[in-house]
Amino acid sequence: MPPKGAKKAAAATANKTLVLDNGAYTIKAGIVSTGATPTYDDCRVVPNCIARSTRDKCTYVGSELDGCRDFGELAFRRPVEKGFIVNWEAEKAIWEHELMGEAAGAWWRCDPTETNLVLTEKPNCPKELQKNCDEVVFEQFEFAAYYRCVGATLNAYHAPTAASSLASQSLPQECLLIVDTSYSDTTILPLYNGKLLQSAVRRLTVGGKLLTNYLKELSSLRHYNMMEETYLLNEIKEAVSYVVPSSQQFARDLERTWKGRVGDRRELDASIVVDYVLPDYENAIHGHARPHDAAKSRMRRGLQPLQGPREDLLPLGNERFAVPELLFNPSDIGIQEAGIPGAVMESLSVLPEALKVGLLANVVVVGGNSLIAGFMERLETELRALVPVGYLLNVTRADDAVKHTWLGGARFASEQERLREVLVTKAEYDERGSTWLVKRFS
């Protein structure tokens, strides 16, 4: 409930709102005017990092990375750690560059003093960091008004079924279970009427970052030293990894990718094992995968004379499915947590029966990891096995897993009445201070 004076003060708020989904890997940002109908096209996705190449001695801020021609040994500085904004020096530089500077272009550029800000955060953020964030938003950027919330809650403002005339009245959705499998970690967030059921929020350590680093470690151990090639390994992960449909299939695929013992060599299954042609950053800046060719790998090891064009191959066998398998079995590398389905059930176990039924009927998966082939099928099968037979289970992936939260936020921000209730203006902040603000937003 906002304080009494809030309404009057907020009446003077600007009618342009910057919706900012500030992820650890990418920033999803766009300006929404009140009354407009936002679409995915209004959202811009920008890498949330400052990258430096030791080879060409260039530094790239945010979207400048698109112009980079040599991703070899590229080092990243990410202001967001574990999903929370930690390093404001870097974050300020990126925001100024992407949202207020020349890189933004006329469409996206905004003047903070005439714009409202809707900023998302991860759940369970330490209070000190929230306070820092509020202070920087008002004191450094001087936004006209500001609302900070857990990003997943904004997903409740999507219409449940498209083109339903009653949809706008029933918003926010009553029961919604968000599985957010993102770069930093995977979180399970049950929502009721757009509000987060805080005691049931669960988090898995495994996120896209951990998968990329794991693949980097495995490739470095088995083939070439690639510990500095984070960008490349992320690209490889996105290109080749897949989730096996079941643990029986996992065992079968592991068998088919095994090299065999000394004296009992097995032929690698070319339908699973691929050779990834590494980019040399002279002729090609991106690599590609192709089915495994045993002759090529013998050539590489010098057992057969070289033929054809010179190229560097990275053979990928069980890495293709053992890496994303961590989302479902974190204990494979010793992380003492249940997989995503187990965490969903654990989260629901603290909620009353009726809520459980509602939430399971409306599970929505957002976040980049859900784009890995086979992810949704595996999640649905494993959840179905854990959920009691009589319960309806509906698991869907958001139509755009990366921008879904942003669009929910944009829809939220386009309705003046709803937005006015939650916004805090700069004048209010100046009067009451940041400690009050942290309480207000929690």
Binding site: R52, V136, I335, S349, V389
Partner: protein, 259 residues
């Protein structure tokens, strides 16, 4: 059945360094404190020999270090400066925040410490400690125990009890059979719901998912070198390998014996 959990075994740690002790002559009961043969000491330690699937303290440290490495966001060794001339912070406070060089682990440690402090200062108040204990108990609860497995069991206990009299009152037995009331969960209790919505957020550390249930399948073991099933244990460090070939590679590169 009581839940039996194997606690980490620290029997194999050998403390480094040295210390002054009062010399009281030869005392046979103290001889074992600083034995010459470390292997024998480990075997004779109070915890005794480790069980087959238990990890040594050294392995546990190695796993923890590896996970921390895998989920690290920024490399502290690589310093990337912000290019160009950055604008001047507008207030003293903003300058302070922008100049922080802390990492996420520092903030999380701070949060832990503050919660610890809050717990000790309010130890007197029973209600607070009780609430914390209760949430802890909830967190530790096994997921699968609380979720009924079959549709018959899916009806919560109290609801069935409440249904029984109505069914007896009902003169039309067919209707009772057709009734779906007993398959419906009890309606939402608004007070309970409000309490749930008003609950404060968990701390970052408390929000992590619980370990897999004790009755579940055992942890899968993989070859340290090639990723196939790890059927053989390295005798020197306890890591798993799949065969002789990988064992050689393991010993040449990753064996923890000398780590």
């Amino acid at each position: 059945m009581p839940h039996v959990e194997v606690l980490p075994n620290s029997a194999a740690t050998v403390a480094p360094g040295w210390t002054y002790v009062v010399d009281t002559g030869y005392d046979p009961s103290k001889v074992a404190i600083n034995p010459k043969n470390k292997k024998r000491a480990a075997a004779a330690a109070p915890g005794g020999q480790r069980a087959e699937d238990e990890l040594s303290a050294r392995q546990q440290t190695a796993i923890a270090r590896r996970i921390a490495e895998l989920e690290r966001d920024n490399d502290p060794k690589q310093l990337i400066t912000v290019p160009g001339k950055s604008s001047v912070p507008k207030t003293q406070n903003a300058r302070r925040i922008i100049q922080y060089q802390r990492q996420i682990k520092h903030w999380l440690d701070d949060e832990e410490a503050q919660m610890g402090q809050a717990a000790t200062t309010s130890r007197g108040s029973v209600s607070h400690a009780g609430g914390r204990g209760a949430t802890q108990a909830l967190r530790r609860q096994s997921t699968f125990a609380s979720v009924p497995a079959t549709p018959v069991e899916a009806t919560p206990g109290p609801a069935t009890m409440a249904q029984t009299p109505t069914r007896l009152d009902n003169t039309f037995a067919e209707d009772a059979l057709l009734s779906i009331d007993q398959n419906l969960p009890p309606p939402l209790n608004s007070a309970e719901l409000e309490a749930l919505l008003a609950a404060p957020p968990l701390s970052y550390a408390a929000s992590h998912a619980a370990p897999p249930p004790a009755g579940g399948p055992p942890q899968r073991q993989f070859c340290d070198n090639c990723g196939y099933w790890g059927q053989i244990k390295c005798r020197k460090c306890g890591a798993r390998v799949c065969g002789m070939e990988c064992k050689d590679a393991h010993e040449a590169t990753r064996c923890l014996k000398w780590a």
